[in-house]
Symmetry: C2
Amino acid sequence: MTTVTNGGRARIGVLISGSGTNMAALLYASRAADCPFEIAVVGSNRAEAPGLALAAGEGIDTFAIPHGGITRADHDAAVDERLRGAGCDYVALAGYMRILSADFVAGWAGRMVNIHPSLLPAYKGLDTHARAIAAGDSHGGCSVHLVTPELDDGPVLGQTRVAILPGDDAGSLATRVLIAEHQLYARCLAALVKADRARTGR
Amino acid sequence: MTTVTNGGRARIGVLISGSGTNMAALLYASRAADCPFEIAVVGSNRAEAPGLALAAGEGIDTFAIPHGGITRADHDAAVDERLRGAGCDYVALAGYMRILSADFVAGWAGRMVNIHPSLLPAYKGLDTHARAIAAGDSHGGCSVHLVTPELDDGPVLGQTRVAILPGDDAGSLATRVLIAEHQLYARCLAALVKADRARTGR
């Protein structure tokens, strides 16, 4: 069941573990009057994540649920409760460095998205840019995908290719891909919300 | 006279002086199939501007016209010739650290845009973030505006407010505002192109 209602904007819960730059990109994208979503809440497994202070400063509700001394299932259940309590229609993962339990993922099937810094299905997991450079690839990039129980494996909603330049290292490539990520994530999330609304008529 | 033709995408010439992150944001935004613009050419007054290598790596036509040993009018005329030769419909300034001659600006009236890191009309010119912090402002932000002969003075097409956080310095605020800039610039440029097309029927 989706709680998206006609006329209002879809409410997004964003989960982060660090600086939250993709969260910030979604937040500033949502400042456009015609953006079909708004950021309802930002949560983290790390109370000190800089992105939480950023969101709070922008007037967004935030929460931190540390993952230490608690089972994965219990942690995810606590996060889920906060997201649902905030009336979220969708969940956007933005640098959330957690493996998610199957129940949590199933509860948001079709309504949880992630951004991954590679041209999926290439380079699932970590160190994507270093691997792409080491392989001699001409391009890296980023992908927005629906989240399924398998890591970085859900249906891809959109991708942007980013040229690998002579002399690139993982850091320099990451800096450019991040610019592409910020454009792609906002665009794909808006398109998902619009497509769901067109399909459900709400 | 605008050369925008029905069906094709508006051709954008981007002028940069440095890393060109706003140029990159426009470029990656233009990778969306429904984006109404494409980057036709990227030019700079500095041959070593990193953004030129980025653009060239992405297959974009580039040019560098150093500003040393040449009058402002002659430099601007040379830049203008390159932009027109590339069939540009619009010019987007993206960290182009040059004062523009009146003739150059007049030649692109209504079709040259700039992004400025403040909530105009506040803080025209340089050091905008430091000035906003020193003034005790609650928010900084960014503005996209049409370029007129007066510096940072043309009609504002869009703005995004960015909260100033406790402990912010000019650098930390600039980092967050830049994320907002990248969203705002792509959105405002797309809106300008669409509005012009709706108005002219082309």
